[in-house]
Symmetry: C2
Subunit: 204 residues, 2 copies
Amino acid sequence: MRLYHDPRAPNPRRVRMYLAEKGLLDGLELVEVSIAANAHQTPEFLETTPLGLIPVLQLDDGRTLRESMAICRYFEELHPTPPMFGATAWDRAQVEQWGRHAELEVLFPVAQVFRNSHAFWLGRIKQAPEFAEIMRDLLAQRLRWLDHELGTRRYLAGDTFSIADQTLLAAIDFAKVSGIRLGDDTRNLKRWHAEVSERPSSRA
Amino acid sequence: MRLYHDPRAPNPRRVRMYLAEKGLLDGLELVEVSIAANAHQTPEFLETTPLGLIPVLQLDDGRTLRESMAICRYFEELHPTPPMFGATAWDRAQVEQWGRHAELEVLFPVAQVFRNSHAFWLGRIKQAPEFAEIMRDLLAQRLRWLDHELGTRRYLAGDTFSIADQTLLAAIDFAKVSGIRLGDDTRNLKRWHAEVSERPSSRA
């Protein structure tokens, strides 16, 4: 199987980290698609995936699967141990809730700050700097909220490391590109960040 | 169990439609939380759910579950038949992929057009009308893409009705609030919309 990815983008990174945590990364062929070089918008690549979104998984029979969480969930079905989406029905509901919070309340504003205010996109897409500022403010609130949450437990969804932590890690690390860093007012979040960053899978 | 919802918002609607399709809606106590009346931001409600996001599921023992898809997936585990998230590993991957496309490529821009340009939010949140225009343009592209896709099959994720269709239906219907309607250039999408709208669950 083949994984089309960009080493610098947060969505491919959370898929690579997931696969590394499961011990599956070495079994895949990684194919780099550079967003900076516009390689995700070539006619050839758009035949693989119509919107040019990455990552994309390509099975050996040619079928493709898009969307980070669809890819991870598919591998989770094929290789359920160790569970990264929760071990019981309620745990899985919690992982899904916190994974979506990490995505919609953190990764999403981080991505919108980047798209709407970073020089990387200047002249490539239409930007709305005013929206980037709104997202920066939202993000500061959301990080304080997560800091409070992480004062009550070890990992985002409970006492067990999960895909929700990997989404949050990918989001927070990618925020640095836009000059957003964890401040001293988020000590619990920094404790969590240091701990999850030490996992070998976090280097994937 | 109790479901906090707003009858006019798209996220609670997709949860209600899911529960109706599974025959579970009548077993829940529905509690209306009016966003228009700011009932989602009262201190009492924020004790139930810290960000004031709806819908929220409250179990009989008081535990709460947030996020539409976490709520639907939890019910899917308790009541797996008929499957609304796919019947095989590959089907489930497809439903997840298309459900996320419906959410991120349609419901998300629809929500951002509403938040950033509609009079409903004027004076209640900071708006970025320029971003609303960017999202309107994106949405028009995405609807043409989905129109092309729905020329090849009956439902969004294949031949079987799924949660992905319900997310897309909630998004498209909510777009009307911002004056966005399916045009004559999206005949396949209109065929699909007419068909899924006829299901009794779509009135939930």
